[in-house]
Symmetry: C2
Amino acid sequence: MPMNFENLADALKALADPTRLKIVSLLNVRDCCICELVPLFGISQPAVSKHMRRLKTAGLVHETRKGMWVFYGLNADRLAEIGVSLSRLPDLRADLEHLQQQGLLVCE
Amino acid sequence: MPMNFENLADALKALADPTRLKIVSLLNVRDCCICELVPLFGISQPAVSKHMRRLKTAGLVHETRKGMWVFYGLNADRLAEIGVSLSRLPDLRADLEHLQQQGLLVCE
DNA sequence: TTACCTTATAACTATGTAGTTATATATTGC
DNA sequence: GCAATATATAACTACATAGTTATAAGGTAA
C-alpha cells in the first residue's frame, strides 16, 4: 500500500495523542481490554473506547472478543510501517525543477 | 531531550498534516522560502507561513533570512529522532504488573 | 427472565486547527 | 522618503477532536 501524504497524515494523527501513544505502548507489552486500561488513565471508559476505535480505524490495533471482554492487540507491523514512512519521504526534486522551469525559484 | 508521550504527541501533530508532510519532503531536497512553496499548494501565503511556524515550533525546520527572503531548512536529525521514537516506545511492563498486583487484570 | 458486567454509541461541550482576508512589518532599490 | 516584494500577524470561520454523561447493546450466569 503506497503511503501518500493524506494516508500518512491520517496515520500520524491517530498516533499524535499522548493517551493513544501510551495505549500503543501498553499493547506492545500484551493484549489488553478496555476495562484493564481505564484505571491507567484519568479518563472515562467511553473515552478509552473511542481512542481504541481511532487506533483500529488507522489499522494500528485489532480486536478479539473473549466472552464479555474485547481484547485489543497491537499491529506492530503497521506501527513500523508508519515510522519507516517518515524516514522514506518521497523525493520531490521534480516538483522543484518544474518550479525552476517556470522561473518561480528565487535564486537560480 | 527525553521524548515523553506529550512531547512525542506534539511532534507527531506537527507532522500529521498532508501539507506539512509535503513541505518537509520539499525541504528534504533543499532549503526553500515561502514564496517558492506557495505555488505548489492550493493555499494562501499566510497559510503556508503558519505551517512553517508550526514546523519551526516543533523543531523540524530552521530559518535563515537572506535579503527579502526567509529560507527554511529541514532539521533532518529531528525528523529522524521522531521516527526512531515510534520504533522505541517505552516498555510499560511495570504498569501492567502494578495493575495485576491490584487485581485489575482480567485473566491470570 | 433477571441481574450484572463490559463495551459501544449518542448527544453535547470546550478547545484546537486549517483555512480565509486584511493589514502590519521587514527588506531592497529607486 | 517611497514603491515594491516577502513574510508575519490579527481577526475571523468552519470543522475536527477529546472529553463528558447517559444510555444502548453484547455476553455471562444466577
